[in-house]
């Protein structure tokens, strides 16, 4: 009798999302390990008015904002690193469609850590003294703002420091390299804040590039930074972060990164992008076809491929992993 948690992407979005929710994702940096396929499915199912909690912007947030599905967002970084400004998000922020609340890249994971520990606030020694403290897109009338980042008195020294509010998002969709059917997960590359996010969120869904047997986790328990007991569901989706990178699995797709960002810079471009890479997608295999099998092969031969070697023997064949998804979604 199987107690696995693997379900289809469509089913995961159907069961665990709703309009107006606090949706956290993009929990690696902008050009890697982003659970963007979950965002594509949110759009396919027409979710709206999302409150996006992204440690950093990613192509997922860029896309969700460009497509009008986001009304509020909190970020530490809103660009695309070497790929420049995020044109879809930028457009939505400039038009006022998205209220973007700014923090730094340390503030965001500390706020998640605070949520994970169920603290009412987190001490803040950064962001203070700047407009990150004094300006609030969520509370624009109060400028300078005194409510977004507050102050506490250190009871030991008597000196004043800052205090961040904490985060407990309704749902986190987290990209991982490998998951077993019970939701134990291995991330290769920087965790960024996926550990903290997996503890802060009220529900966690893993989006895994590959499914492995649980024996893999028993061989490498110190790598399993997200244990299954925290996880609601597992979605199997190869190339889940594309066009972004997944260390060990595939490189970033530079051409698509640029073309996608350019497309999201206009309404027409966004509509075209949605038609090609969102609306019509009919499951994993169709998606991989659209990326292109040759491109997939090329991106898979990157300089980090050796990082995956110790785990390859436990990876389930594509057909077996898909069968698990079908079985789980039907359950």
């Amino acid at each position: 009798m199987s107690h696995h948690k693997v379900i289809s992407l469509a089913e995961a979005v159907r069961r665990h999302t709703w309009d107006g929710m606090q949706y956290a994702s993009g929990a690696a940096l902008p050009v890697g390990s982003d659970a963007i396929v979950f965002g594509r499915e949110l759009l396919r199912q027409g979710r709206r008015d999302l409150h996006a909690i992204f440690h950093c912007n990613t192509q997922q947030l860029n896309l969700l904002a460009a497509a009008g599905a986001v009304s509020r967002a909190e970020c530490g970084f809103s660009g695309l690193e070497g790929f420049g400004f995020a044109k879809g998000l930028g457009r939505a922020v400039q038009s006022g469609a998205v209220a973007l609340e700014d923090y730094s890249n340390l503030a965001m994971p500390l706020r998640l850590l605070g949520g994970a520990l169920n603290w009412p606030f987190v001490p803040a020694t950064v962001n203070v003294g700047t407009d990150l403290e004094f300006r609030s897109a969520f509370d624009p009338e109060h400028s300078p703002n005194r409510d977004k980042i507050r102050t506490v008195t250190d009871p030991f020294s008597g000196r004043t420091i800052g205090a961040f509010s904490t985060l407990q998002p309704d749902l986190a969709a987290i990209h991982v390299t490998l998951a077993d059917p019970e939701g134990n997960a291995i991330m290769l590359g920087t965790e960024w804040s996926r550990f903290e996010l997996s503890r802060a969120a009220k529900r966690v869904i893993l989006i895994a590039d590959a499914i492995v047997e649980t024996d893999c986790m028993r061989q490498f328990p110190n790598l399993v930074r997200i244990p299954g007991l925290l996880v609601e569901a597992v979605v199997y989706w190869p190339f889940a972060a594309w066009p972004q990178a997944s260390p060990g699995m595939y490189d970033g797709d530079e051409a698509h990164m640029k073309a996608m960002n350019d497309a999201l810079g206009s309404e027409a471009g966004t509509a075209a992008y949605l038609a090609d890479y969102v609306d019509g997608i009919d499951g994993v295999d169709d998606y991989l076809d659209r990326i292109g099998r040759e491109r997939i092969a090329a991106l898979s031969r990157g300089p980090t491929s050796f990082l995956l070697d110790p785990y390859r023997r436990w990876i389930l064949p594509h057909a077996d992993a898909l069968a698990l998804s079908r079985e789980g979604a039907a359950a």
Binding site: A28, L29, V31, G32, S33, C56, N57, C75, G76, F77, S78, G79, L80, E81, G82, F85, L89, G90, V93, Q94, S95, G96, L100, D102, S104, N105, L106, M108, P109, T125, V126, N127, V128, G129, T130, D131, L132, R135, S136, A137, P140, S143, N145, R159, T160, L188, G189, T190, E191, W192, S193, F195, E196, A245, P247, G252, E254, P303, T304, L307
Partner: protein, 261 residues
């Protein structure tokens, strides 16, 4: 006779010269990483380089990384941890010796805006920017926590402003001991290195003063490209040209020629 070099290359080399061997140093993406890895390749082989993703001990392969977690950087790391570790335990704690950040706008006290362009004062009610930029990222944390940090910025008057539209990362705030009074743990910006020269803070007022021109720039040009009344050091220097060794080291790091475009 030296080789030709670009203004961007001069800026990267001048920045790299500020980094000393053995230091714990945090680099961002792009120019900052080029300057840092140039220093490592040239005169600081034991610099302890890290990124805000908690990527330790890596040197880029196959060209400049597109991001902190780009596979070009993940390919040979000895340790991957996380953001709280890198930006919190190592940077905001005050342990990190030096960081490098960029700027869309910088003011006379080395305060930096990378959040947005409003075309002037935002006003009493916060409103959307005309141009949204990249936000704080790790720059606010680096500027707050590092023992010192360097600002790399293209020297244009639209960037060297009298007043920032938005203060993203703290330099010396209002100047003087404003940082200390606020309790920020790091020492503040030690230099602004531009495409035209180097500015350094007055030790008392903390206002940035022109300390050196590049071989190809002049005090007049720099003044013209600075929107505030720039003070000039009484003994303003000319920064030595890149040596052949320096250029060779830099171009090995800048394999894709980003700085030569």
């Amino acid at each position: 006779m030296t080789q030709p070099y670009t203004r961007q290359e001069m800026m990267a080399i001048a920045t790299g010269r500020e980094i000393r061997d053995g230091e714990l140093a945090i680099f961002g993406v792009g120019l900052s990483m080029l300057a840092g890895f140039f220093a490592q390749a040239h005169h600081a082989p034991r610099v302890r380089a890290m990124t805000e993703g908690g990527v330790y001990g890596a040197t880029p392969v196959g060209g400049l990384p597109w991001g902190i977690e780009c596979n070009r950087l993940s390919a040979n790391a000895v340790s991957f941890t996380n953001a709280i570790d890198a930006l919190g335990c190592l940077v905001a704690s005050g342990r990190c010796d030096v960081g490098i950040i960029g700027a869309a706008q910088v003011d006379r006290f080395g305060n930096v805006n990378t959040t947005g362009i409003w075309g002037g004062d935002i006003g009493p009610v916060y409103r959307p920017p005309k141009t949204r930029l990249t936000g704080a990222g790790g720059a606010n944390d680096i500027a707050t926590g590092c023992k010192r940090f360097l600002i790399m910025v293209s020297h244009e008057s639209k960037r060297f402003v009298e007043r920032l539209d938005y203060l993203t990362s703290p330099g010396y705030l209002d100047g003087g001991d404003a940082r200390e009074r606020l309790g920020l743990v790091g020492g503040g910006p030690s230099a602004i290195i531009t495409t035209l020269g180097i500015l350094r803070p007055d030790p008392v007022t903390r206002e940035f003063v022109l300390d050196a021109c590049f071989p190809f720039s002049s005090v007049e040009e720099i003044r013209a490209q600075t929107a505030w009344e720039l003070k000039i050091s009484p003994n303003v220097q000319i920064v030595p040209e890149p040596t052949a060794d320096e250029l060779e080291a830099l171009r090995r790091v800048d394999e894709t020629g980003m700085l030569r475009r």
